[in-house]
C-alpha cells in the first residue's frame, strides 16, 4: 500500500504517456486529454500546500517570541489582506464578497498591492544583485591561467559589444561577440543541453521503472 501503489501508479501513467506519444489513437487521445485536465486540479491542491507551510512557519515564529518574532506578523497581514481583497469586488455597481466569480481580480486594492508593493520590493531585491555581481567580478575575475583568461576575454567581448566608444574597432568587437555567441558558445551550450537532455531521460526512465524513488521520501 505505502510503496507499491505509488510505484505502480508512476509506472502505469508513465508508460501510458509514452505509449500515447507514439500511438496517438482516438481513444488514447481521449484518456490523455482527461489526464491533463485532471492534473491541473491536483496541481492546485499541491501548490496550496506551500501556502499552508508558510502560514505554519510564520505562526510558529510568532509563538516562539524569539528575536524578530514581529516580522512574520507582517507576512501574515500581507497574506490575509491580499486574500481578502481578492474576494471583494464590485458587480453592477455593488461591492460585495464574491467567491465564485472573479470580480476580486479587478479590485483596485488587489492590483495596487501587486503594483506598488510586490513589484517594487521583488524587483529591487533582484536589483541588489547588480552590486553583488560588480563586486564579485572585481574580486574573483583574475586571469590566473589560460582557462580563466578565456572566460575573462569572452565576458569582456560580450560586455563591450554595444559600447559606442570603441572607435574603429567597435564593429569588429560586435562581430566577434556575435561569432562568439553563435559558434564556440553555441558548441558549449549544445554539449550542455545534450548532456542535460540525456540526464533527464535517464532519470525519467529510472523513475518509471521504480529504480529512483527519492520522490517518495522516507517511511
Amino acid at each position: 500500500m505505502r510503496r507499491q501503489i505509488p510505484l505502480a501508479l508512476v509506472m502505469i501513467f508513465g508508460i501510458f504517456m509514452i505509449f500515447q506519444y507514439f500511438v496517438p489513437h482516438e481513444s488514447s487521445e481521449w484518456v490523455y486529454e482527461f489526464l491533463l485536465d485532471w492534473i491541473y486540479i491536483i496541481g492546485i491542491f499541491a501548490l496550496a500546500l506551500g501556502i499552508w507551510s508558510l502560514i505554519r512557519v510564520s505562526v510558529e515564529k510568532i509563538h516562539s517570541r524569539k528575536s524578530g518574532w514581529g516580522y512574520p506578523i507582517i507576512t501574515l497581514a500581507g497574506l490575509f489582506l491580499m486574500i481578502l481583497f481578492g474576494f471583494i469586488g464590485r458587480r453592477d455597481g455593488v461591492w460585495g464578497l464574491y467567491f465564485m466569480t472573479a470580480e476580486g481580480l479587478s479590485n483596485p486594492m488587489f492590483r495596487h498591492f501587486f503594483d506598488y508593493i510586490l513589484i517594487p520590493i521583488q524587483s529591487t531585491m533582484f536589483a541588489l544583485l547588480a552590486f553583488f555581481i560588480a563586486s564579485a567580478a572585481y574580486r574573483a575575475f583574475r586571469a590566473r591561467n589560460i582557462l580563466a583568461s578565456l572566460l575573462l576575454i569572452a565576458a569582456l567581448i560580450v560586455m563591450l559589444r554595444f559600447n559606442p566608444y570603441m572607435g574603429p574597432i567597435g564593429p569588429y568587437v560586435a562581430d566577434t561577440a556575435s561569432w562568439l555567441l553563435n559558434v564556440p558558445n553555441l558548441a558549449a551550450k549544445r554539449a550542455i543541453i545534450i548532456g542535460i537532455g540525456l540526464g533527464i531521460v535517464a532519470t525519467a526512465l529510472k523513475v518509471i521503472l521504480g529504480i529512483e524513488r527519492g520522490y517518495m521520501g522516507k517511511g
Binding site: L9, I12, M100, F113, P120, Q122, I196
Partner: protein
C-alpha cells in the same frame, strides 16, 4: 496622475529604497519589506489559484450538482476524483497518513516523466545532434568571412566543440593522451561559453538596477509635474517628507557609525 495614485507610487519608492538599504547593512526597513513581499506574494498566489484554478477548472464543472449530495449528482461527477486526489496531497502534514499523499504524487510523477521521455529525447538530444552534423556544408567552407557563423570553419568548430564538450562531461576514462587533448579542447570551449554567459549576466543584473532608477525617476518627476491636471502642492510635500525622512535616517546611521568607530 491622481493624488491617491501618487501616494501609492510613493509607497513603491519607499519600499524600493528600503530594500536597497540592505546594501549598507541588514536593517529593520529591509526586514519589513522582505517579510511583506513574502506575504503579499503568497496571498496573491492564493487568489490566483482560487479564481484561475479551482473555480474554472473544478467548481464550475461541478456547479450543477448539490453540495449536500457532495456534487455526485452533477453532470460531470468524475471531476471529484482529481479533487479527492488533490486533497490527499494534504495528508503530507499528518504523521501517520503522509504516505497517502504518494498516490496523487505518483500519478503526477508518472505523467510528467512519461511525457518527458520522448519529447526531451527528441528535442534536446536528437534535434541538437542533427543540427550539429547537418550544418556542415562543404560549399560554405571557402569564401565566407572569418567571423561568419555560417562559414565552414565555424561549423567545424561547432562540431568539434560539441563532441569535445560531451567528451569532457561524459567520459570517465582518465583524461590523458588523445582523450586528454579532446577533453582539454572541450573545456576551452566550455569556458568561452561560461564567459559569454557571465558577460550576459552582468548585463542582466545591471539592467535590473536601471529599472529601479527609472521607477524612482518617474516618481520624482510626478512630484514636480505641474502639467498634471490633478497636481497640487501635496505632491511636493509628500515628496519632501520621504526625502527628509530618508536624509534623517542617513544622518542617524552616520552618527551611529562614527560613534562606534570612536569607541
Amino acid at each position: 496622475m491622481e493624488f491617491s495614485t501618487f501616494l501609492w507610487t510613493t509607497l513603491g519608492a519607499f519600499l524600493t529604497l528600503a530594500t536597497f538599504s540592505f546594501l549598507y547593512k541588514d536593517n529593520p526597513f529591509y526586514k519589513i519589506a522582505e517579510h511583506l513581499v513574502v506575504g503579499v506574494s503568497a496571498g496573491y498566489f492564493v487568489i490566483i489559484l482560487w479564481h484561475n484554478g479551482l473555480v474554472p477548472n473544478l467548481f464550475e464543472r461541478l456547479a450543477d450538482g448539490d453540495w449536500y449530495l457532495l456534487w455526485l449528482n452533477s453532470s460531470k461527477p468524475w471531476y471529484l476524483v482529481p479533487a479527492l486526489l488533490g486533497a490527499l496531497m494534504w495528508t503530507r502534514f499528518s504523521q501517520n497518513y503522509s504516505w497517502v499523499s504518494r498516490w496523487p504524487l505518483g500519478m503526477y510523477i508518472g505523467i510528467a516523466t512519461g511525457v518527458a521521455i520522448p519529447l526531451e529525447m527528441a528535442n534536446r538530444v536528437n534535434r541538437q545532434l542533427y543540427a550539429t552534423m547537418i550544418a556542415i556544408k562543404w560549399d560554405n567552407f571557402w569564401g565566407m568571412g572569418f567571423l561568419d557563423s555560417a562559414a565552414g570553419f565555424s561549423q567545424i568548430i561547432i562540431f568539434a566543440g560539441v563532441i569535445a564538450g560531451l567528451f569532457y562531461f561524459f567520459f570517465s576514462k582518465a583524461h590523458t593522451g588523445i582523450f586528454g587533448g579532446i577533453a582539454r579542447f572541450g573545456i576551452w570551449i566550455l569556458m568561452i561559453g561560461f564567459g559569454a554567459s557571465f558577460g550576459f549576466t552582468v548585463m542582466a543584473r545591471v539592467s535590473l538596477f536601471i529599472n529601479r532608477i527609472q521607477d524612482l525617476r518617474d516618481w520624482g518627476a510626478a512630484s514636480f509635474n505641474t502639467s498634471n491636471p490633478h497636481y497640487s502642492g501635496w505632491f511636493f510635500i509628500v515628496f519632501l517628507l520621504l526625502v527628509f525622512s530618508l536624509a534623517a535616517y542617513a544622518v542617524v546611521e552616520v552618527a551611529r557609525f562614527t560613534k562606534r568607530r570612536a569607541a
